[in-house]
């Protein structure tokens, strides 16, 4: 609970209209996409770095947690106030301060919705590639905190590859600038930008971001390819990459995902065992050649149907299907254990057939889909959490999947971060020394432990509750 002094001080700092203790607001800032609500004691909407700094300084002296929050669309509980305190929403800081068409950079505030930035720069013939599935509603700040990736990561990399520099308020309230504002190069001092990107809001609050842009590719082609087995589809993925074609997107969907999403979108995919959604971009003549090559390779790997989207409306439809899979899975079972493991792409076939074995062994439904091209698969173990057998089997299946992933030389989270839901598992991938090094950094920057506590590191009494 916050004292009355703290409450009135928060109002003085951010303005009474930008602080709320109302039950209605506390309810609405209690959740993210893990749907594991924990209500904060207050919600604050600061207008900029100075206000964030004052709030954090007070948090240090008065000892209350501060939890940064973008759009609240994370999958691992990164923005949940698990220890109460103040949720610090970036929703008010949402202006695009500038787009530099000469240096190809953007200067944005953290609350800008990623998709809104993209359409803005695309209007100028520029391109901000990171495309998390939530891009239409998640924010740049949240994307930076989680180092969000997406389908285009295969060719274009992830959020960290587009962050040149950051204005960050450290947990103690100091305002710092990391990296550069407009240059790709810059090696003066430690690379604190990379430290902050992906730190899940535990090392600082990003209040301004300087981003790198690319020229918008001249042409894009979107293809949908159907297969009669998941292994065939996975083999086609490896063959495409081995042929030195790097599509901007190379997405796979298994039969469970297909069935689910077909129910929602009704696009005639029922009965298909696996689908690849492939996008190539570049110059007009180049993409035509790529399409021909991809078609040939898919046929060599026994594809049963190959379709190129005829116009932008068809492209939009295909993407809507892909983006709807994750939430639509709830149609199968009420509880979704949502993991996003990554393996080197040469091991993809092993991962996919291994997951099918695990589903059989543990007697659970597992839906796999995602970014096959970069080896990042969204594995969703679907169970009824209220059924003790299923809940246990689901937990066992998740552990099996993580074991398999690590054995294949992969990582247990490619995009979603650790938050609270993966905290119990990080030691499967990290050594005690690895974890200790991270904790030392956290302690150095946040000696009082006020910024987003209870995340990433498993609590001593065997970890946080699962999502």
């Amino acid at each position: 609970m916050l004292s009355d002094t703290v409450k009135s001080e928060l109002e003085r700092i951010a303005g009474t209209a930008n602080v709320s203790f109302a039950r209605e607001d506390l309810i609405c800032y209690s959740y993210d996409a893990t749907n594991n609500p924990v209500a904060p004691d207050a919600v604050v909407f600061p207008g900029g770095a100075e206000e964030v700094s004052l709030i954090l300084k007070m948090a240090n002296s008065e000892r209350f947690p501060v939890v940064p929050r973008g759009a609240g669309t994370g999958f691992t509980g990164g923005s949940l106030p698990v220890e109460g305190g103040v949720v610090l929403s970036t929703e008010r800081m949402r202006s695009i301060r500038g787009i530099d068409t000469e240096n190809l950079t953007a200067d944005v505030e953290p609350g800008v919705v990623t998709g809104e930035l993209q359409s803005e720069v695309e209007g100028l013939g520029l391109f901000y590639p990171p495309d998390p599935t939530s891009l239409k509603f998640s924010t740049i700040g949240g994307n930076i905190a989680e180092c969000a990736g997406g389908p285009r990561a295969l060719k274009y990399g992830v959020t960290r590859d587009y962050v040149l520099g950051l204005e960050v308020v450290l947990p103690t309230g100091d305002i710092i600038m990391t990296g550069t504002k407009k240059t790709v190069k810059g090696v003066v001092g430690y690379d604190l930008t990379r430290l902050v990107v992906g730190s899940e809001g535990t090392l600082g609050v990003v209040t301004r971001a300087f981003l790198r842009l690319l020229p918008l590719p001249e042409a894009t082609r979107t293809m949908l390819v159907k297969f009669s087995s998941l292994e065939d589809a996975a083999r086609a993925v490896s063959a495409i990459i081995s042929a030195r074609i790097i599509p901007s997107t190379l997405e796979i969907m298994d039969s469970v995902s297909i069935r689910c999403v077909d129910e929602f979108a009704k696009i005639g995919l029922s009965g298909v065992e696996a689908v690849l959604l492939i996008e190539v971009d570049g110059r007009e003549d180049g993409v035509e050649r790529d399409v021909a090559d991809v078609e040939r390779i898919c046929k060599e790997n026994r594809s049963v149907e190959f379709r190129v989207a005829a116009d932008r409306f068809e492209v939009k439809d295909l993407w809507k299907v892909r983006r709807s899979i994750s939430p639509a899975l709830k149609r199968i079972k009420p509880t979704k254990l949502n993991e996003d493991v990554v393996v080197p792409r040469s091991r993809l076939v092993e991962l996919i057939s291994g997951i099918q074995d695990i589903a059989r062994k543990r007697e659970v439904v597992i839906a796999s889909f995602g970014h096959a091209g970069d080896g990042n698969i969204h594995v969703n173990v679907m169970v009824d959490g209220n059924d003790p057998r299923e809940a246990r089997a689901g937990g066992d299946a998740v552990r099996d999947i993580f074991d398999l992933t690590v054995a294949l030389g992969g990582t247990i989270s490619g995009e979603h971060g650790v938050g609270i839901t993966k905290a119990p598992y990080i030691s499967m991938e990290l050594t005690d020394q690895d974890i200790e090094a991270m904790k030392r950094i956290k302690r150095a920057l946040d000696p009082s432990g006020v910024l987003n506590p209870g995340k990433i590191f498993p609590s001593p009494d065997t970890g946080a509750p699962r999502g």
Binding site: E24, I27, C28, N35, R92, F264
Partner: protein, 421 residues
């Protein structure tokens, strides 16, 4: 009607993914979580669980929804947030009663086929005392500040003679018995009857041109959607029954409306509203609802209306705004555009044609400022495409768009598609 509890069961499918935030008109303006569809779901769930401390803010948030249906259309799990919001409003009315103003408006005026016309006729005569014609657009602005009506608001002018009262319309109240022509029963609706009778005139004219016999059954009343969206299920149900009975007096091949909201009500909501009534009711409702068509759907899809090509001048630009109740709840978006091609005007699409205008769900009455902020983007869209004429297919949208264009200084006329045919 599904109860709030039944709706909540549906709402449990909500996984809080947040996809609805990208399409919600009120969230787009507010940019705070309680104004988002998933926020409303969370709030209504909490209220149903008896969570303490929910008060006026809660009511404000459930009133902010325009019931446009964008979230439902975009939800991978098909969570019917508008249905849930309506159920929550109904629950609120059941517990707390209607506000005196809403109660008077919905129960005495809209639900009566005598008092409403009488009261509005008086108002029609008196409107000049308080309101004056706007110099730039058809409509009225207040001469001085009035209670409930903010300064500068462009109000629709009440018709001098209401559509249903016109002699030639009254003459249409019974069928002539000509069996060679398709017989159409015209459901007029309040917007057309009291405020925009020209739409009614055009509807009758165009239907006749298309070779149909038009009947305007007497005894028809408000469709009940304003009452329902306020949470007054009782009034909505009694209006639905009156309308059902009025249209059971004759035999119609189709029942047509020029109002997207009435159409959604008659086609979809009646089924829900009247379910669980006495024996045989569902067959009666089915017989009625399955015949209901929007005017654009009937003209383009069924009567194959040819238009009077070549009369319009090709240098005027027309654009089209999709009413939510037409596109999202009736799946009609092509027909009005195809009809516009037959007007001879040059068509140019606006940005986000299917974004809500902000009037719906009673928002223009419960929160006029928010409603106008939502409409700002519409006005900018019209400005951006340089249209001289904005066509749409809903009297509600027309009233809202006229007000918004006036407020944001965009010079374009706003009309119903049928007025251009």
């Amino acid at each position: 009607m599904k109860s709030l509890e039944e709706h909540i069961k549906e709402a449990l499918k909500c996984v809080r993914c947040g996809a609805c935030k990208s399409v919600c008109p009120s969230f787009d303006v507010r940019r705070r979580e309680p104004s988002s569809p998933r926020g409303r779901v969370a709030l209504i769930e909490a209220s149903l669980k008896g969570e303490e401390g929910l008060g006026g803010m809660y009511v404000g948030h459930i009133k902010e929804c325009t019931l446009c249906g964008s979230c439902l259309n975009n939800c991978p799990n098909g969570v019917d947030v508008p249905g849930l919001v309506m159920a929550a409003r109904a629950e609120h009315v059941r517990r707390e009663g209607l506000s005196p103003v809403a109660s008077f408006a919905l129960r005495n005026m809209l639900s009566s086929d005598r008092f409403m016309p009488w009261a509005l006729k008086l108002a029609s005569k008196l409107q000049g005392l308080f309101l004056k014609s706007s110099s730039v657009e058809n409509g009225l602005v207040s001469r001085f500040s009035l209670p409930f009506i903010g300064g500068g608001r462009l109000l629709p002018e009440l018709a001098g003679v209401f559509f249903m009262d016109r002699r030639h319309v009254r003459a249409l109240s019974e069928a002539k018995g000509d069996s060679s022509k398709p017989r159409i029963g015209f459901f007029v609706g309040c917007g057309v009857n009291y405020l925009l009778p020209d739409i009614g005139e055009s509807t009758v004219r165009v239907l006749k041109e298309a070779g149909a016999e038009v009947v305007v059954p007497s005894g028809q009343v408000c469709c009940g959607m304003p009452a329902l969206s306020t949470g007054d299920v009782k009034t909505a149900r009694s209006l639905a029954l009156k309308n059902l009975e009025a249209f059971e007096q004759g035999e119609y091949d189709y029942i047509v409306t020029s109002c997207a909201t009435c159409g959604h009500g008659l086609k979809n909501i009646f089924r829900e509203l009247l379910s669980g009534e006495e024996d045989g009711m569902s067959a009666r409702v089915e017989r009625f609802s399955s015949r209901v068509k929007d005017i654009t759907e009937l003209l383009e899809g069924i009567l194959s209306y040819k238009g009077r090509a070549g009369e319009g001048s090709g240098d005027r630009v027309v654009t089209y705004h999709d009413p939510c109740h037409l596109r999202k709840y009736q799946g009609i978006s092509e027909e009005p555009r195809l009809l516009l091609e037959k007007t001879g005007l040059r068509f140019k699409g606006m940005k986000n044609p299917c974004k809500c205008c902000g009037l719906g769900g009673g928002l223009a009455f419960s929160n006029y400022e928010l409603s106008m902020e939502i409409a700002r983007k519409k006005a900018e869209g019209v400005r951006g495409c340089g249209a001289d004429v904005v066509a749409t297919a809903c009297p509600g949208c027309i009233i809202q768009l006229k007000d918004a264009l006036h407020r944001y200084g965009v010079r374009a006329k706003v009309v119903h598609v049928v007025e251009l045919l």
